[in-house]
Symmetry: C2
Subunit: 678 residues, 2 copies
Amino acid sequence: MADTDPLVIFTPSGKRGRFERGTPILQAARALGVDLDSVCGGRGICSKCQVTPAYGEFPKHGVTVAADALSEWNPVEERYKSKRGLIEGRRLGCQAKVANDVVIDVPPESQVHKQVVRKRAEARDIVMSPSVRLYYVEVEEPDMHEPSGDLERLIAAIENQWEIKGVRSDFHVLKSLQPTLRKGAWKVTCAVHQGDESNPPRIMHLWPGYYDGSLYGLAVDLGSTTIAAHLCDLGTGEVVASSGIMNPQIRFGEDLMSRVSYSMMNAGGDAEMTQAVRDGMNALFEQVALEAHIDKALIVDAVFVMNPVMHHLFLGIDPFELGQAPFALATANSLALRASDLGLEIHPAARVYILPCIAGHVGADAAAVALSEAPNMSDDLVLIVDVGTNAEIQLGNRARVLACSSPTGPAFEGAQISSGQRAAPGAIERVTIDPVTKEPRFRVIGSDIWSDEAGFEEAIASTGITGICGSGIIEMVAEMRIAGIVDGPGLIGSPDQTGTDRCFADGRTHSYLVWDGSAEGGPKITVTNRDIREIQMAKAALYSGARLLMDKFGVDHVDRIVLAGAFGAHISPKHAMVLGMIPDCNLTSVTSAGNAAGTGARIALLNTRARGEIEAIVREIHKIETAIEPRFQEHFVNASNIPNAVEPFPILASVVTLPDLDFNASGDGGGRRRRRGR
Amino acid sequence: MADTDPLVIFTPSGKRGRFERGTPILQAARALGVDLDSVCGGRGICSKCQVTPAYGEFPKHGVTVAADALSEWNPVEERYKSKRGLIEGRRLGCQAKVANDVVIDVPPESQVHKQVVRKRAEARDIVMSPSVRLYYVEVEEPDMHEPSGDLERLIAAIENQWEIKGVRSDFHVLKSLQPTLRKGAWKVTCAVHQGDESNPPRIMHLWPGYYDGSLYGLAVDLGSTTIAAHLCDLGTGEVVASSGIMNPQIRFGEDLMSRVSYSMMNAGGDAEMTQAVRDGMNALFEQVALEAHIDKALIVDAVFVMNPVMHHLFLGIDPFELGQAPFALATANSLALRASDLGLEIHPAARVYILPCIAGHVGADAAAVALSEAPNMSDDLVLIVDVGTNAEIQLGNRARVLACSSPTGPAFEGAQISSGQRAAPGAIERVTIDPVTKEPRFRVIGSDIWSDEAGFEEAIASTGITGICGSGIIEMVAEMRIAGIVDGPGLIGSPDQTGTDRCFADGRTHSYLVWDGSAEGGPKITVTNRDIREIQMAKAALYSGARLLMDKFGVDHVDRIVLAGAFGAHISPKHAMVLGMIPDCNLTSVTSAGNAAGTGARIALLNTRARGEIEAIVREIHKIETAIEPRFQEHFVNASNIPNAVEPFPILASVVTLPDLDFNASGDGGGRRRRRGR
């Protein structure tokens, strides 16, 4: 490169260098280490290397770009444009050649390591770095004078044309290798798993000629109650479909401990449950692929997050040891497996990555939350609560992160509540109670109209009013407390005490009538004093876990609170604080992270470097076992009262209803609300 | 170590060093890098570290060893001796401690890398270095205050107690991990695959406590006609059982090309044949394990050698391309796979190693022959001929090695010969013909008595005389030539020309009557002129291949000839030379290597370093494709004559009848003769 050679400046990276006239832009980008994608290796086939030359004065860069800065539009570009279309002003980086000083913008979609922007301002963007990439190569034909295997020539082509070392092949590729090479006239597109510290890069699949499609990955959140799968395009990072099913293990027990018991009581019970969840998983994958109109065999990677019991059952390990002290995990570290090891029917060479578990009660789902919410990178002290059957709680900042699990039980999911139900159409999800009249008004899932507004009857005609879901019961109890229907210790007042006939004697205590649909053959929805007790127990457990971590951290106040979990997304922070679920905190500092575990899974799917990151984070997280901490019991005993301490509210924070996944994904699946608790 | 510390000298290594009094011998050995085995890590359990202290004057070593050179016999040794026995004079290296200057002999069975001595003087010994080793470890118990997975603590124990790095676990180990650790009270024996350049060490299996058994491996020679498996103890290197079955693919075609045709003509034909050979393999493994009275699940490694067509069919690759120029292999390199990838029912985490192929017609079996016979390390020029349906021929010395395959067809295996049959009881295998009377005398398989000796009739009563096997037909034709019954061009003379009525008109040519059993309802065994032609074709192909390599090497003479293959073991070198199968060579320099391919497989099984060695050798071997060499056709045309050039014989070499495997193995299976051609 002489000083008189044209200057090429790339944006947004700012990288610059002088190149001989006639150098293709793609080649210049590679020489400078500019992130410019290409699958065909500069043969004018794939169009992944599209760039936008900028013309005119660029005082900032100190150059003027003339109209003849690049070689003229060439026949390859012409053909490409006519066949597939090319955005105005775009050039193919492999065809356009340097002629004079030029400024070249690399649009996001032409970057391999493009950033996927997350909706929440405080959340980090994701840099794309998927485990599997496509490479188009031209392979030498066999020669009788120098015999060598087709595979060896294919590997040599990949290594030489793409500067990758030590490439191996998955066994099953051998079967299709010879016909595919010949069908493609010795030109093929290879899906290559990038490998990791203990695995070399590996050819997973071959297509004859240039493969013009995508590869897909699954981010799976395997909950005790539901399994949710997000199908992602491994090239763009988009969620192309999301789908969920009930965990088929529910028939063996609603909550985790009853499943552990089932395995203890029944020989082969764990194997039955393993089969059930794997079968369910395959049905779900079928469903999500169908939704996206793609072939399941294009799913080449999958990341799973789940609690420890689900972790073991999914892997085929008896969860026996997790049911008793010292709650020893069979393995805590992350796992990199073949999908076929788990009986998963996706691409036969697909890989599976399972995030590490933090402890016997704090699973890979909590690790995924840590990856998504990054408490270890927070300047202020953040409390992260993932509410489910167990609450996983993390507290920390850049200095350190503590974690524990607290046995909240299933009350927050509407179970063990007299009128409780899962979040489904017809369930009461939103409540206010007039402090004077003690009359409730509410909204049910499936309708945006409140019960005291016109059109409510019509709006709910198809579903009816069937019960109260988890977030509904929290609002209900909090509102009852605010309205003076329930006192601090948790007793529902008599009609005399409360001045409303909605309170009625019910055995030795009182209940509160929310809705009487019996005239139309519907249910009578009440809140009993026993319901209040269940919620008190659950919220005390949650609060105590958080307090325990605060004790260990040596603080009595947190800077902000993040509510994670699909359920967390629907909790009203105000009501959670009225109830005393979470420690006191400025309401504006209580946010929802949506399904943070699912987001963590997606991060690990799209960015393989994040896998090493979360493994390092988990090693640093300090685990607290609530079962052996006397302070936990102490907090628990003290936490059953319902404080009603935040009235009057400094700010009436609106209810948080973020969608499950917080990406600016174009697929509508990503933005769909999922209403069931995990 | 001070100068006054006692001196410890190990034999046979000669390694020496000074150690503080009280240092266990095992520890001293490890410090010096002496090869002293141990599975229990010095806990007095396994007795693998047995040593023999030597007492008295050792002028060569400059020491005098007093009776008190080692610590006294201790209770651990006492208990071990009473329970399991200990050879007189032996000590446990982990219990006996240095007290004064001492000379310690490490007997071969206490060496990890012991040498397995091969019977043939010219063959190298094998240094044991198997892929899987046993380690006994004590694992830390789980601690709720510092939660970690059982697997992570197990791996830490292996890494710390055995100084191995980067240990991983096979997925299926997870299932049994927790119960096994607890059953063994946190003491377990692990089978650990040692890994290789692209795979880390990997836990394959766990036993609670100390596992006092062996691990096994299979060396399998997958021939077109028969499959032979040798079951080896991976600790001692012994062959504990050998067994063979017919290749079940025979029903799809006797020879390789008819199987390739079957796959071309029948959709899914290759898959059928793959299934057939894998099923057969599993039946064979069942059989060989039963013979050795071991559990198949103790077989943790297997090495396979085979020709390219069998290679592809076994791997599930359509052999289509091998049936036509340019004879491209799907893959030529060695393969390291999981046994389960091939549907093999041995240990679920067992590994498989397949030797590299040399070219489209020269397979992994030829590579195994190269490993066993090491032409690349030969000072003199050696011609190695592996005779089967195809003959694989290698010619070389330290400077270079050439290889080719020659299409001999199945005549040498008794096929396409009018009275031909496979080598089985009743087949004529040895022949002489009186040059004067032209009367034949012969011996049949299953009897050691010649046909003109007393007791012959009784000896063959159970089998009868059923036909002529491959080695028999070679001797027969050669003897007919020597006796003047056949002329140089290959015509059988008339009764007038030969002076015997055994020659009789048979169509337009003559045949020779060997045996007439028709009076007793048996067959009439004759040699027709067409039989002579078949043998002429086969031997011309073999000879031409050898000559082609000699041309390429630029020589017209070889120093020695090695006949490999089970069939090669039964060929009489004299008759082979009379026939002109092999180039002229001093008869004393023609030897049989027995089943060299099987031996090569066993070397690769027992010594993982040999795998890298053969991969390097194969890269260096120069392949010649006979199909495109005009000189091959030329030689072939000139080679059909039967020379009879070696009469009178300088030395009447005795017929070579080495057993299949040439190891000093204690298992009787190793020494058993296998009579069928591969």
